[in-house]
């Protein structure tokens, strides 16, 4: 026991330590999956699908180039930010759950995409794949951020149990 500080001061210090740990966790997740990244990827997905569905070689070439370049360009600041203060491994204890969550989310999106696109095609609606991907892309961007918020909350809650 240390008699130089008051228990209230010790409690405040512990609270500050917990706050900083939470700050690191939230920052790490935000850096790895920033909000704009989801929407940028969604727009690139729509552009790529529209170019494929146009069935014109030049437009397809532009679409593929735009998609690849866009993904490469956006990944640079994301990976740089993620490397700036990576989470300590024992705090990142739910890596498996995150991967399972993302894989499940992607499977749901593929299901929605196939169901939407095939239904539209059966109804002879023009550009069924582009419309299907647009619906899926909006779900991807909005749902992805919600999933990240949920996983962050779990990480923060679990980190609070550590000494």
């Amino acid at each position: 026991m240390n008699d130089r500080i008051e228990p209230a001061d010790a409690a405040r210090a512990l609270s500050e330590i917990g706050r900083r740990r939470e700050q690191v966790i939230r920052r790490a997740v935000r850096a790895a999956f920033p909000g704009w990244y989801w929407w940028t990827t969604a727009v690139l997905m729509i552009a790529l699908t529209a170019s494929v569905e146009s069935r014109r070689g030049v437009v397809l070439g532009i679409g593929i180039t735009l998609f690849v370049a866009g993904e490469l360009i956006t990944s640079v600041p994301v990976s740089r930010a993620a490397r700036a203060a990576p989470l300590r491994r024992d705090l990142d204890s739910q890596r498996r759950e995150t991967l399972v969550g993302l894989a499940t989310f992607m499977l749901v999106l593929v299901g929605v995409l196939l169901a939407t696109a095939l239904s539209l095609k059966a109804a002879r609606v023009p550009y069924p794949a582009t419309i299907g991907v647009t619906v899926t892309a909006v779900m991807f961007a909005a749902g992805g951020q919600t999933l990240m918020r949920y996983l962050t909350a779990i990480l923060v809650r679990r980190s609070g149990r550590q000494p």
């Binding site: 026991m1 240390n2 130089r4 500080i5 008051e6 228990p7 209230a8 010790a10 409690a11 405040r12 210090a13 512990l14 609270s15 500050e16 330590i17 706050r19 900083r20 740990r21 700050q23 690191v24 966790i25 920052r27 790490a28 700036a84 203060a85 990576p86 989470l87 300590r88 491994r89 705090l91 980190s159 000494p163």
Partner: protein, 113 residues
């Protein structure tokens, strides 16, 4: 087994924030530390130097292209000192019967020491 030990050097408010931040990371960039803890460049440099002199922090300077990049991390000794300090704090709070929880959102002093 880690034994509790109150650490005056770590307990100073600014250094406590810094060490607590570093304890949750593997490495942290200077800019991230500065912005997260809310310090000026010179104040952060001073605190990191104090912690490095005590052997608690390792500072790495590298170049990314032409830009200098400074990062810091807790050393094994710094992590142990931090863990022991946390245990000492928990012991103090437990000794008071857990009746000293700070009010929610209590502002921790931001003065440098």
């Amino acid at each position: 087994m880690i034994t509790p030990r109150f650490d005056e050097l770590i307990h100073a408010p600014t250094r406590l924030s810094l060490v607590a931040f570093l304890a949750a990371t593997t490495w942290a960039d200077f800019a991230v530390l500065r912005d997260s803890v809310g310090l000026s460049d010179s104040a952060l440099s001073k605190q990191l130097t104090t912690l490095a002199d005590a052997g608690y922090v390792e500072i790495r300077k590298a170049f990314v292209g032409k830009r200098p990049r400074t990062s810091a991390r807790l050393t094994a000794g710094g992590r142990t000192a931090f863990d022991r300090h946390v245990l000492a704090l928990q012991e103090i709070v437990a000794g008071a019967g857990g009746s000293v929880l700070p009010p929610a959102g209590h502002p921790t002093s931001r003065s440098t020491s």
